[in-house]
Symmetry: C2
Subunit: 431 residues, 2 copies
């Protein structure tokens, strides 16, 4: 284990660049071997990892303690320290996750779109790994295991770059991953953890187009923004979750109240949380006072348009900036609209194209909304906070994408794969 | 019709930039309306275009004559001039293509991956247009119609930028497209042709990330290389078609001869043409002399490894550069290999990941080759020149992609779409 710590900021740029290139080359070679890996070998490696997390608990927790001590010395917030801890409970959850991913169907090699052409040639698509995936994330060490597991299951080689706060924990987890891969007969370079906390390594990783096929960033908005600017390798990412619920004039009020309350208060910090509520003017007088009371009682600050403020008390005026903002907090913007078209105009103007929902009992309006609103998830009679790979039945989630190309919305194993065309013939000739 | 011609190189950059931004904004608005377009309206527009090409033949051919005259004055090669001509025959082919695309199933709105979750929530994927597509191409004016038709059918708005040699023809075709869109009740800005030959317009188009979702370049390698460097908008593209046929020791020799001959000689200039032939050493003495005779008789220059040169006459030594080169000409590199693994190593090192083929009667070797070779198309007992959307049954082709993300291999209508998640519930709550 290469024990370069933060002092390595003094590493010469040339050395770091060589080290990252070497990681890239090894990943590329491993990716080629991983394409031929059987589903059994991959599942075995995941189960060995699960076993080793428990068997080597003491070693892991000792390495984790180094990170925890450093965090305490730097007086990091208790919530952050808790996220950093490899507690018995955290290790158990990671173990369960690994076994679940091991049990999932192997996406690689699946055949679709099969057809036979008039000349007898058979044409189909075969699902195959993407290649080399770079995953960049912040302090939680459990992401090291989750991300490694998803990349491995989908047959990719991965370069993981975790937060510097979890450096020792991640290096110890990397050892477990490597030895599990080898035990299953797979190349240990199929999962590599960047062995330095030098921040320049990130900039190098996201520009290694010769070796890295895609980058998945997992972390806060500032990380994603930085990577969006620097990266030349494609990113699977979302920047904002400015999500809307539109309560239509034909909504069932009881259902609408439940959906809106859940969409805002399930968790304030997740990307599927509703940030703006749009309400049809015909239903606003009957609907808004009660939901406002519930939300305010829960401690949610309301900011509204003039019409909203005329209907309910203690509502600050909403500004242009409020419509644009993902509050990620106990704040909700409310706007009364004249029609579904006005609601859709508002969404087209302000949404981050993440997740929107309509509450209505009118089927044709629901269908129009779902067809015309152009977000990665469009829901009917559901709270936006359902936007999540596990909730959608993907079995796992590497992240959520608001890209339009490749993978959109919650990204599971399939988003870490691509396809190739496979053709079978018998000496047919063209022309 | 804005009649700015090449003299517009003097246009001020600010003006050009404003003009391109305006095109982008209009395209984005049109894209929103196109998402709601019915399959019937789109098919109608395509049929109106087909009718108009015939009805307005005289106008079109008059505009085309301006381009042809300019080309003749610049003493452009006769083959190029032929490609530029909107002859009766060329217009007929375009008309047939339009009617075929009109008849195809509408990809937009198709539902897949549908499931019901334990809480009763229904989750599915809906196919939707990508948004705004920029298409950049060279002299052939028929591409204006093809590209407009595919983008329109898939519900996108398009900005087309054709070659300056076809400027007048493209502007006349643009008029027909606009009026057909309007007649079908669709926004005429759903297809816009850049109204200037100023080359800086291309650089602007490929960096308008706020307005353009994807760029499809159609043209020679120098165009693609230039765009790959400049573009910040994602490209659906391929750069090289350095394709391989591997004749295995278990090949049927008669079949192998037919396949190899077709793979090289069907057309020298298309991207699926075989550029390197790999032959298992055990079969080389029986196979190579006859196929070499046929190819040399056809005028194909052979360049081979030492072992090849020991077996057949008039073969120049193949250099490292030959293995790397897409000749796009009557030249073939030949290498004798010790095993399928060595053939796959050669392909991994030199291939452009476009199309490779194995000739063998051994099923397990065929399956291994198909699984482990990582190209956009991998064939068994077929010539690589079959790599084509029409041959694969896509009904149409906007291009071939060697990207790993989004669309791979021949790209049809589906490659110009993406999906969104659509969910139906009844007031379910999370947590």
């Amino acid at each position: 284990m290469n024990d370069i710590t933060q002092s390595s900021a003094a590493t010469q740029v040339g050395d770091l660049s060589t080290m990252m290139q070497d990681l890239g080359k090894r990943a590329q070679l491993a990716a080629r071997r991983m394409r031929a890996a059987t589903g059994k070998a991959k599942a075995d490696a995941l189960r060995y990892m699960a076993d080793a997390l428990i068997e080597q608990k003491a070693t892991l927790q000792a390495a984790n303690e180094l990170d925890l001590q450093a965090a305490r010395e730097r007086q990091i917030a208790p919530a952050m320290i808790e996220r950093l801890a490899l507690s018995d409970r955290a290790l158990e959850i990671m173990t369960t996750g690994l076994r679940q991913i091991a049990d999932m169907d192997d996406p690689v090699g699946q055949i679709s779109a099969s057809r036979t052409r008039p000349n007898g040639m058979r044409v189909a698509q075969m699902r195959v790994p993407l290649g080399v995936i770079g995953i960049i994330y912040e302090s939680r060490p459990n992401v090291t295991i989750d991300a490694a597991a998803l990349s491995l299951k989908s047959g990719n080689a991965t370069i993981l770059r975790g937060g510097s706060e979890a450096f020792h924990s991640n290096q110890a987890l990397a050892q477990i991953i490597s030895s599990s891969l080898e035990r299953a007969g797979l190349p240990k370079e199929a999962v590599q953890v960047v062995p330095t906390t030098d921040r320049d390594a990130v900039g190098l990783l996201v520009t290694m187009n010769d070796y890295v096929d895609v980058i998945v960033p997992r972390g806060g908005k500032s990380l994603i923004q930085r990577l969006s600017t620097e990266a030349t390798v494609p990113l699977i990412k979302h920047l904002d979750g400015n999500c809307h619920v539109y309560v239509d004039e034909f909504a069932d009020l009881e259902k609408a109240t439940r959906i809106v309350f859940n969409a805002k208060t399930y968790r304030y910090g997740i990307c599927g949380t509703m940030e703006t509520l749009l309400v049809h003017r015909n239903i606003a007088p009957a609907f808004l006072p009660e939901i406002a009371r519930q939300l305010q009682e829960k401690g949610v600050e309301l900011r509204g348009c003039e019409q909203t403020r005329a209907l309910i008390a203690n509502v600050a005026p909403a500004t242009e900036e409020d419509w644009e903002t993902e509050f990620a907090a106990a704040i909700l913007a409310i706007r009364i609209v004249d029609s579904m078209d006005q609601a859709m105009d508002h969404i087209a103007q302000y949404s981050s194209e993440h997740t929107e929902s309509i509450v209505t009992e009118n089927l044709s309006l629901a269908e129009r909304f779902q067809r015309e609103v152009d977000s990665s998830s469009v829901m009917v009679n559901l709270p936006t906070c359902f936007a999540d790979g596990f909730e959608y039945g993907l079995g796992a989630e590497i992240g959520i994408s608001t890209n339009r190309l490749h993978a959109r919305g919650p990204v599971g194993l399939e988003g870490l794969t691509t396809y190739k065309w496979v053709l079978h013939g018998n000496g047919q000739m063209r022309g």
